[in-house]
Symmetry: C2
Subunit: 311 residues, 2 copies
Amino acid sequence: MTTFAEKLTRKVEVLQNPSLLGLDPNLSYIPGHLLDQAGQAGKQGADQVAAAFLAFNKAILQELQDLIGVVKFQSACYEQYGPAGLNCLRESIGYAKSLGYLTILDAKRNDIGSTASAYARASLAASPLPEDQSSSQTYAALDADAVTLNAYLGIDGIKPFLDACQALGKGIFILVRTSNPSAGDLQDLDLADGRKVYEAMADLVAQWGEDLDAGQKFSSVGAVVGATWPDQARHLRARMPRQIFLIPGYGAQGASAHDALAGLSEGRGGIVNASRSLMLAWQKEGTQGQDFAQATRRAALKMREDLLSAL
Amino acid sequence: MTTFAEKLTRKVEVLQNPSLLGLDPNLSYIPGHLLDQAGQAGKQGADQVAAAFLAFNKAILQELQDLIGVVKFQSACYEQYGPAGLNCLRESIGYAKSLGYLTILDAKRNDIGSTASAYARASLAASPLPEDQSSSQTYAALDADAVTLNAYLGIDGIKPFLDACQALGKGIFILVRTSNPSAGDLQDLDLADGRKVYEAMADLVAQWGEDLDAGQKFSSVGAVVGATWPDQARHLRARMPRQIFLIPGYGAQGASAHDALAGLSEGRGGIVNASRSLMLAWQKEGTQGQDFAQATRRAALKMREDLLSAL
């Protein structure tokens, strides 16, 4: 079976683009005409917002399919609109996959035992259905290609996801060093053995990657490493030679292309996320948003150029 | 406004019961007749499971309303059945609140900036709707009274939830020391200043509680402290004198009542979760589950007795 790491590496190489499209919609990001259309179709409340989110996502996914190969969906943005929002997330992931994108659910899930297994089923795999069911015996809620995780609870919370990597060719990205101002509250504390907390996390992640797929060039156990800390990213590459870095912080969060790519391994092994700078391109252009998807494409072309010239 | 901590303390005192009912259903926990009823009502697949989960939850909530005051819903169990599962979660929380329960969403959410805000809206508060909407201008996806969080990302990820505590009388429980075997992979590492990682987390949690509601007896910033480590719980009480402990690990995970209550403060300031030992009481009694809710009640009465005699 092709591993997630192989699929991702190939996508980036074929399209010559390490960009990761983030579809993390909020109501204020959506052009008015999409909300109007959903309203005219009889949708109200959360259903209206979810329908507009879906139309927004689909148009952007269609417009960028020859340009970007990997798309990330921020679960919170959809969860806030309840069952309708989750249905939009489910349909968005399915649509992205139908166009050939690799999909990452950005959910930062974490739990233990049977609950971690339920999260693995919810995000990457499938859940059992009653046995007398004549149709399919399992239900896949989201069926993303990969999911982001938080490993504060140790390997117990990661194991069910590793099983999905092994059995289904899926991937995970574990938070190591995040891009936010207060990331250091816990992550930067000094350990007695000379490491920082985030370095200990990096060592765990590297080890879990070895346990899963040692011998492969890149592991399907990836790491989230914020672009706002390029020195740390370079340093973390040495600790995690086989991890693919999911790199947030480029664009709206202030990191340059050079910063964002600091942790790559000979120009490989990383994908750089941009969410707001792509989704909100139409607002930056000062338009009413009729051509929002083309505006996103223009911003995505500029981003690719920016990243490739820094490589 | 009554704070979450006050509401919770009152519930525990009025009912003389520090038990926390965990409604964390999986398909194998559900008596066959509930699945049959959902099937006979025309539900299939995930809809059938979600309808059976809802009937299961409602019957137990009804049966225990004079006995237990706080209920916890494990998000993963519902998410695995997609939009139908999330709808079941939403209706279960609403039904529990209508019966007077305090509700905790066990979701261990974590993110930063605008995404943390979206999670706070999704779990505790409400999200905006299009402005021309004639009906309510916001949508509350779950509207739980409290939510569990993971603070690996520092205060940035916690702040929007503190705002909901302040403005809406809601509460949070932050993972400090979890109950699973590999909790120590990261949490037990020694820091250079002599603390363990989980002690540093405890100090952050205590500080955030001070920032929110110093002067109150108990804080609405609570802590998750696993019952399987009673020595640590006692020790953590000294570091977090004002935190309410959400204590997992009793029953199915092997901790005794004595272990579970080790971290309380003069018999107060903690709630002890039981999920499987209550939900699966009908299976332990060896029945077909026709009287599952009464079986749960019998197990809950025994649990209360066990806890009160250990106090």
